[in-house]
Symmetry: C2
Subunit: 343 residues, 2 copies
């Protein structure tokens, strides 16, 4: 039994007393309590130690009062489990010293036994569920196959991920082999997250927006569709492909219950593209949380007015920035909680 | 008299025998001939020495055979002329050691005498026009006020330009003062480019796509509109706000003759948003120039099919990448030149 199940009911399209709210990267650097643990433990140590992942996951529920917890982890635990070395250099981002460039490199990659390689995630989920004790739902997640390929090929973050794109354009067969391996791994991984207790799953396609509409279908959406299809009978899913507004209709047709949208699209237009039978999640400009609190309050109201009642989960259009003051994050969440749609 | 005036006729909406083609950053690092000069002279030395700027501007006309030359310069010469120190650290990008954060900082910024501070640009344009000798038109350019503010406030490149955005959201009056000063400078600067011989002007809003639709109007488009309005009776203008697909209709209404579009929108949809009475420019994925030449040829054909005849200038959806082989760039240009629309 989940006490505050606003998020789940909104995903199912049920009427709710108010709009639910959470924030991408809500367990993160803007929280001083997180920074204390970041100072003591390495990044993957925090991910791989269920007690730490649990503690971090709970922080924004306790401190900010969000309507959902999201597992503290990283999308790059999957490439790691698949056999690639992944380093996370704090403040510099991910670094994969041996990226995939050739057929020979691909031989180093495997579809792993997820219990063996990612068991710590499922342990964390079980512990979090116990600690949450039904207060709010727990969101599990994974990176999309395309977004993971970006890192696995480019070897690090990039504005354009041109090496990853060139890999797909020059060696499409290799690219599709790799994407399918990531897809197969992700399906097993997310199914196990649900078995461990995740109440909903979000798929993050952070770099889908770097592809043109046709390439998005070819290298990203067709694999996300496989994942959504595999999960849709066991859990509600949310698909977030940042910047891929051009394919909201195709994403809505996957069977996902929710679609994330960024702040660079009007809510009315997103609704028009996505259709009526899906929940939209977003789309506050993360940089706007740096504004004075009265501006945040005014802008939250404008966002909720624009989305209208029902089928909306309030969120940012991307992860919360590390330099957002905690009381600004709280003002965002409180403004949503205090808002009532006029009937 | 311009011998090959395909670009200008296309901007005016006239019928042409084929689609004109050029590439953003066509005078750049992918060209070995450019790299030779880059090895010998500093970045601003290349911009500020008319002979060098002229030589670099002509390179892609001679080597690749594009249908237009674009002035070799940088958008950051304007902030420099306005009184800010701008360093360009090769391979790291721009760095402004004393960015604008407060009212006091704003006092260091002035609307300059452009002949005094940017005379070298006009000298370069005159020299280029002489060297071009009417072969193809010359495109002059400037950065949009918003994009320049991004660098002037953030002090360097950024994925999110969150400090620039926070400056606008927390100190909107200062932001508007600065944007107006940049606008006033840009109008005089571009008018002088036209007087010196530029045949058309492109305004680059590289970071317009980081703003939501309302903020795009407030902090970017309203200033670009002033610039287009000031220029539209003396020269055809092209407006390129990367990622700002949501405002193509509003941009088309400015009176610009051309709109740049990136590769993350279908040509049919861009046309639907922008309306029929404007020329669209774009929108090949720059990373796709890393594909094998037959793929480039096939994709160029698909792009030209999608845009249809007339009112289209073939280009990339963003600047050419430094690692593109020269023969791939040439294959792109040749594919456009060899294509004929079926009547």
């Amino acid at each position: 039994m989940i006490h505050n199940d606003l998020l789940l009911r909104t995903l199912r399209g049920e009427e709710t007393e108010r709009t639910p709210v959470w924030m991408m990267r809500q367990a993160g650097r803007y929280l001083p309590e997180y920074m204390v643990l970041r100072g003591k433990y390495g990044f993957f140590e925090r991910c791989q130690t269920p007690e730490l992942a649990c503690q971090i996951t709970l922080q924004p529920v306790d401190i900010i009062g969000v309507d959902a917890a999201i597992l503290f982890s990283d999308i790059l635990v999957v490439p790691q489990a698949m056999g690639l070395e992944v380093q996370l250099i704090e403040s510099k981002g991910p670094f994969l010293p041996d990226p995939i460039k050739t057929l020979n490199d691909l031989k180093r990659v495997r579809v792993p036994d997820v219990d063996e390689t990612l068991g710590y995630v499922f342990d964390a989920i079980k512990m979090i569920k116990q600690e949450l004790n039904g207060r709010v739902p727990l969101i599990g997640f994974a990176g999309s196959p395309w977004t993971l390929l970006c890192y696995m090929v480019q070897g690090k973050g990039s504005k354009t991920f041109d090496e990853a794109k060139a890999f797909c354009y020059t060696q499409p067969e290799l690219a599709h082999q790799l994407l399918q391996m990531i897809t197969d791994t992700t399906i097993v991984y997310l199914t196990a997250q649900v078995k461990a207790g995740a109440d909903t799953i979000q798929l993050f396609d952070s770099w889908g927006g770097l592809l043109g509409p046709d390439d998005f279908e070819t290298f990203s959406l067709q694999y996300m569709r496989q994942i959504i299809t595999a999960l849709k009978d066991i859990v509600p899913t949310i698909l977030f492909a940042k910047g891929a507004w051009h394919s909201l209709d195709a994403m809505a047709a996957t069977g996902a219950q929710g679609l994330g949208i960024d702040w660079c699209i009007r809510p009315e237009m997103a609704r028009q593209f996505a259709g009526k039978n899906i929940t939209l999640q977003g789309n506050f400009d993360p940089a706007k949380l740096l504004s004075p609190i009265p501006v945040i309050q005014k802008e939250v109201k404008a966002m909720l007015d624009a989305f209208g009642p029902g089928r909306h989960i309030a969120n940012l259009g991307h992860g919360i920035l590390p330099n957002v003051p905690v009381d600004h994050a709280r003002a965002f969440v409180d403004s949503v909680k205090n808002y009532r749609h006029t009937k």
